[in-house]
Symmetry: C2
Subunit: 249 residues, 2 copies
DNA sequence: TTGCTATTGTGTAAAAAATACACATTTTTG
DNA sequence: CAAAAATGTGTATTTTTTACACAATAGCAA
């Protein structure tokens, strides 16, 4: 057995009593139900949307809630979030990232439940909702209030998270089809950040990064001059993404 | 009862059965013990350090662990982390922020325990350790391996979190005394980011931000020309901190 | 008291990045 | 075939970042 990493000797005998029965210890811990809740973002008609259902709790009659579930025995939080997504959208390999835990003791009317929020990004067009019970639908983020539980808070936190993340990573592309025009990309950024961006500078920015692949194809069915369609070169991005040193606050 | 925020009507009768007994529902949920673990950072001798103790589990004999505890009934995670900090360092109002949850089903030898990691920043000089049981001590981050549980992973995640955060927010100042010299500040950044920075440009950066208050005092007990001591103007920072629009990846 | 050491404090020029801004081109639609 | 709507493109200006060197100050040792 190694004893590296420290000059300190073993603890003095008789001072600290080591606990042998780890299982007995844990069995006596107070326990809490844990859920995951997914803020599933989509982009449609130049609007950021969230996938919601009606709450099935009487206490939250007619209120919207996030898709979520209790975690199962020995299930990782990430896996539980994946499962929720698979069950509802039929999609695997969806972008999903943990945002944070919410633990307000009165957040659930049935007693204490801690939830871990996940943000998920997917292309609305590229999938079919599996089960459309409880009015499962895409809800515009703007017209969202009065949700069940603390889900409005959770949505707000995940939206802020998203605003920050799309500026630092090419996350936003998960919301678009595989092939997209620069206008679509700019609309996405403008909608999520709530700003107007200069078209020429926006294009310059993306071309300079040099992660866009010209597919040679053009938009179709647009009522105006069609734009070029690009793919994002995720592989090159993963190889070249810059590490990031700038003090700036 | 309001019915705003949506054009959709009530769910069709007989389709969805609303659950009235929320409490009964939650009572039947599987439950898991939840802990908080604090990665408490300090800065001493130009090194980033973490506050650790010896594990009191036989299974992790002689391994270092983070300070943590089981959360209590109806205790918020943030409050539990505050409590851990208060108990061990005697300090209230310490900088503490949730980083993320860790849920590996085998992370605890006694059975499943989910933990929520917090990063904490404090000035080592400005406090006394309350209880020094279990060899509570400040451990250099560099010489850290072979910890109990998944605590090395947690430390790594929190360290990355810290590296990112100090570049975007004036967090790092929580690691320094109230009054500090620019050299100390630069040492802090260099140690945490693991880079060398140009002194003139570093100073220029901070002076340009205009959040430093000249205290009029100078360093004492330094074996060379003493530097000026500054305070950080947190109030002005809170008023003026920029919101932040730059696509950059 | 003097000189040595270590570190503070300061400015400028060059390069890179961000911004502001306008017009010709292409396709669809009526 | 003209009008509408959007694409595609370049340059000049400003701002930010980077690279870089020397005089001034305090402690310390002789």
């Amino acid at each position: 057995m190694k004893n590296n990493g420290s000059k300190t000797e073993l603890p003095p005998e008789g001072k600290t009593v080591l606990i042998k029965d780890a299982k007995g210890l844990v069995d006596n811990y107070p326990k809490v139900p844990i859920t995951v809740d997914c803020v599933i973002f989509g982009f449609e008609e130049n609007e950021l949307k969230v996938l919601l259902i009606r709450s099935d709790l009487e206490a939250f009659r007619n209120k919207w809630t996030l898709l979520g579930d209790i975690i199962r025995d020995n299930e990782e939080l990430d896996d539980a979030a994946d499962r929720v997504l698979l069950e509802r959208t039929g999609m695997t390999d969806v972008f999903l990232e943990q945002v944070r835990a919410f633990s307000g003791p009165t957040r659930h009317p049935g007693g204490r439940v801690i939830t871990v929020a996940y943000a998920s990004l997917l292309d609305i067009g590229h999938h079919q909702l599996k089960i459309t019970d409880n009015e499962l639908h895409w809800h515009p983020l703007n017209s969202l209030k009065d949700m069940a539980f603390d889900h409005k808070q959770i949505v707000d936190a995940c939206y802020k998270w998203l605003q920050k993340m799309i500026q630092e990573h090419p996350l936003g592309l998960n919301l678009l089809p595989d092939k997209f025009s620069l206008r679509e990309l700019q609309n996405l950024y403008e909608a999520i950040l709530g700003v107007e961006l200069d078209r020429r500078n926006f294009r310059k920015k993306f071309f300079t990064m040099d992660f866009l692949i010209d597919t040679g194809e053009m938009e179709i069915d647009v009522p105006h001059r069609p734009g070029k369609l690009y793919k994002f070169n995720f592989k090159k991005y993963e190889r070249n993404k810059k590490k990031w040193f700038a003090i700036d606050f």
